[in-house]
């Protein structure tokens, strides 16, 4: 019964969404939605497919929101996608042409009512001031309306079934979305002018698909496609750009070439890579050393109150990371921070490249040592006590017994956890972003800060203030995938128990 209800909901949702998806031209989303529904039906509408019934839900989510984005990132790394190249070539040409529309002395003018059928979908209802005829204009073209189709009051369309008409204030609010809205006509387009008026103008530019050129009909200048950097533009014979607007195009391995050959980028990249490794390795070593020392000290039957120690030491592990990191960022304040106050020092913790790195490691020690303490305690308790006793009877001192017997056994047990912790810190965006923002920065390279690790560098390239470089950032992210994969392989090898998957 529940099953039928769930399946019915899925089919119903997809069916309900279909009309608006078709109207908006969102065919990718539409087909994915129906594929998901089909998979669910094939799995749960039959009595067979027992195995799939248990694997499908998680696998669907994993494929849609983890595997597919990873593959899309790799694909994106071979394009120039970013600010200025967000649109396709057709969209770019259409926009350039529409922007060249100018009114002529005999331009027809219209009374305009803007209407919408849903988010993002607009229609211009137009009444020709000269003839009084009513039209509906969309990006697909202009259609004349019969007298019954809409209500016209005082020269304006005031009601249309199936449409919501926008008030002047609403048109104003939607100005950003309406900026590029144009109704194409023979040799020109109808554009909005103000809130209640539109005019039909002629395009100065004309596109010739045969030769892939844009022609200025007044001056006769021809603009052809030329590659400049990793982008293509329409340029005249002198190389002057018609528009700074480019489009999304494949650039092969150009982004990788740039990362490894552009000396400024390469310098930053190698430095960041080096620090990422030091940061991750340093964090693991520090937290493990402190955690193990603590576990060794407290894991002794004569020490009372172990439960209390454990409860308190669990605190840094239990508090959500972003909170502790932000509190610590206050501690590092040079003038009022707790650390300088308590120690009497006057270190510029977050402003100095060296001390910022120390601060990061110190913070990560606090965040991570309780975890390592718990892990080491568990591993120590799993090592049979007789081994150590036998060594001591054979004449070894307490420390020698630890170094020769306990420590090697312990290392085998925790090796996979150490590698996992290394991989985790390798991509530990939160600590870096919330404590130092990757900084401090030098003026000559505002993209790569002193404490940046690869993931924080990638995010800044993609979403930072310097303009989106999605393609290039995707290339760095792809390199991160490869490095993480190598780490994962290392962990596989370190985990012997995996060979016994049963």
């Amino acid at each position: 019964m529940t099953r039928i209800l769930c399946l019915g909901t899925a089919v119903g949702t997809a069916a309900a969404l279909t009309p608006s998806l078709v109207a908006g031209g969102h065919y990718v989303v539409l087909s994915i939605a129906w594929v998901v529904v089909a998979v669910l039906l094939a799995t749960y509408a039959t009595r067979r497919a027992l195995l799939a019934k248990y694997l499908v839900p998680g696998t669907l989510l994993l494929v849609l929101f983890t595997v597919a984005p990873v593959l899309a990132t790799v694909q994106m790394s071979t394009t120039n996608y970013g600010d200025g190249t967000r649109t396709t070539k057709e969209q770019t040409v259409a926009r350039i042409l529409a922007n060249s529309v100018v009114p002529t002395p005999d331009s027809p003018t219209f009374n305009l009512s803007v209407a919408t059928t849903g988010p993002g979908g607009f229609t211009f209802f137009l009444v020709d001031r000269a003839t009084g005829r009513a039209y509906a204009g969309t990006p697909d073209g202009l259609a004349e309306l019969s007298a019954e189709a809409v209500t016209v009051t005082r020269g304006f369309v005031t009601a249309a079934p199936g449409y919501t008409l926008l008030s002047a204030a609403q048109v104003n609010d939607a100005a950003e979305q309406l900026r590029d809205f144009a109704v194409p006509t023979e040799g020109g387009a109808i554009l909005r002018r103000g809130l209640r008026e539109a005019f039909e103008g002629r395009a100065v530019l004309r596109y010739d698909p045969e030769s892939d050129t844009i022609v200025d009909q007044r001056s006769g200048t021809r603009y052809t496609v030329q590659r400049q950097g990793d982008r293509e533009y329409y340029v005249d014979s002198g190389g002057e750009r018609l528009s700074d607007q480019s489009w999304r195009a494949g650039v092969g391995l150009e982004n990788y070439r740039r990362a490894f050959t552009d000396s400024r980028i390469l310098g930053g990249f190698l430095r960041i890579f080096g620090w990422t490794v030091i940061f991750a390795a340093g964090s693991v070593l520090l937290t493990f050393a402190v955690g193990l020392a603590l576990a060794g000290m407290l894991n002794d039957p004569r020490v009372r109150g172990q439960k209390w120690y454990r409860s308190i030491l669990l605190l840094p592990y239990a508090i959500p990371g972003f909170i502790s990191i932000l509190v610590w960022s206050g501690f590092f304040n040079q003038e009022f921070g707790l650390i300088n106050n308590l120690t009497g020092l006057s270190i510029d913790w977050l402003g100095d490249p060296f001390w910022a790195k120390v601060a990061l490691l110190l913070l990560n020690l606090w965040l991570g040592f309780p975890y390592m303490f718990l892990v080491a305690t568990g591993a120590l308790q799993a090592i049979p006590g007789e081994l150590k006793e036998a060594a001591i009877i054979d004449g070894a001192g307490g420390f020698t017994a630890f170094r020769r017997i306990t420590f090697p056994l312990l290392l085998v047990a925790v090796a996979p956890i150490l590698v996992a912790s290394f991989a985790f810190n390798f991509n530990n965006f939160n600590v870096v972003e919330l404590l130092t923002h990757g900084g401090p920065f030098t003026p000559d390279n505002p993209d790569a800060g002193a404490t940046d690790i690869l993931i924080s560098y990638t995010v800044r390239l993609a979403f930072g203030a310097g303009g989106a470089q999605f393609g290039f950032a995707a290339a760095i992210a792809t390199l991160l995938f490869v490095i993480t994969g190598v780490l994962a392989a290392a962990q596989f090898r370190a985990t012997r128990s995996l060979e016994e998957v049963h």
């Binding site: 027992l50 696998t59 989510l61 984005p69 972003f322 996992a420 992210a477």
Partner: protein
């Protein structure tokens, strides 16, 4: 308290106390800042000296920082993602533990491999994806809790290994006896295995929960509108806008966020320590 005691046990306590102080100072500082009426960095000490609820009140009254709204958003995301993650993981773990099929070992290892790639490495593709999804279905776009939750559900199978390990320890004779009594596979899973696996479900649930509550990267990019924020990005915004003077308000919010999580951790401590040694990392 003899020197012998000191040599054998006492120094261990001394080391433990140093660690306790190191662990506790930032926690005390949050508490102290939350109740300090001035709420500035300069006026806050580690040990609470004053008591006032003014910052808590301001969290609930200042419309510029709708803390209740962020709390609600966070609870919704955490609950949705945790339930989906634990349930789909448990279902897959059941298949991997109880069924024998081709590609089973390969499937398990693949899951382990994928799990090691943090989802947020694909942040750029996820961003374009959710932008396009939002253009088609606005309720799932940027600045929506639903769209953000959906993306986080990409980690639906993150807990398969832990749960499968636990299922493996539950004797198969139990399900076989039930099947003899006429139970179907669904009954075995929902009525027998799941109730018996409550401890591991609690731990994986908690791990999923803290993973979501601390998620910052994707939230900071997807949820930029004030009312759509989660606690992580919302509280970050408070402290970031004025690091010196907003400390009190931030600490009050942080305290209310952290307290339930810390209590849960203490309550489930026994199981967590067991799970940790099995190799799970909080993130």
């Amino acid at each position: 308290m003899t020197t012998r005691w000191w040599r054998e046990v006492g120094w261990r306590h001394a080391g433990g106390l140093v660690a306790v102080v190191f662990a506790v100072v930032p926690v005390l500082y949050i508490v102290s800042a939350a109740f300090n009426p001035l709420g500035t960095v300069v006026s806050t000490d580690v040990v609470p000296t004053q008591f006032s609820l003014v910052h808590f009140r301001s969290l609930f009254e200042d419309p510029a920082r709708p803390f209740p709204r962020w709390l609600l958003n966070t609870v919704v995301v955490c609950a949705a993602v945790t339930v989906v993650q634990v349930l789909s993981s448990a279902m897959a773990a059941y298949a991997f533990s109880r069924f024998r099929f081709r590609g089973r070992r390969g499937g398990l290892l693949t899951l382990l491999l994928i799990q090691m790639f943090p989802q947020f490495l694909a942040v750029i593709a996820l961003f374009t994806m959710i932008t396009e999804l939002g253009a088609a279905v606005p309720a799932l776009g940027l600045n929506t809790i639903a769209g953000y939750s959906l993306v986080l559900m990409g980690s639906a199978l993150a807990q398969v290994w832990l749960i499968k390990g636990y299922f493996d320890t539950i004797p198969r004779q139990l399900d076989e006896a039930a099947v003899v009594d006429g139970a179907g596979h669904a009954t075995v899973f929902f009525r027998i295995l799941l109730p018996l696996a409550r401890p591991i479900l609690a731990v994986t649930g908690l791990l999923a929960f803290v993973g979501v509550i601390g998620e910052f990267l994707l939230a900071s990019i997807f949820l930029t509108d004030t009312r759509s924020k989660t606690l992580a990005v919302g509280l970050y915004g408070i402290i970031e806008s004025d690091r010196s003077n907003n400390l009190g308000v931030f600490a009050a919010g942080a305290l209310m966020t952290a307290l339930p999580v810390v209590l849960l951790f203490q309550y489930l401590q026994r199981y967590i320590v067991g799970g940790l040694t099995a190799g799970s990392v909080k993130d």
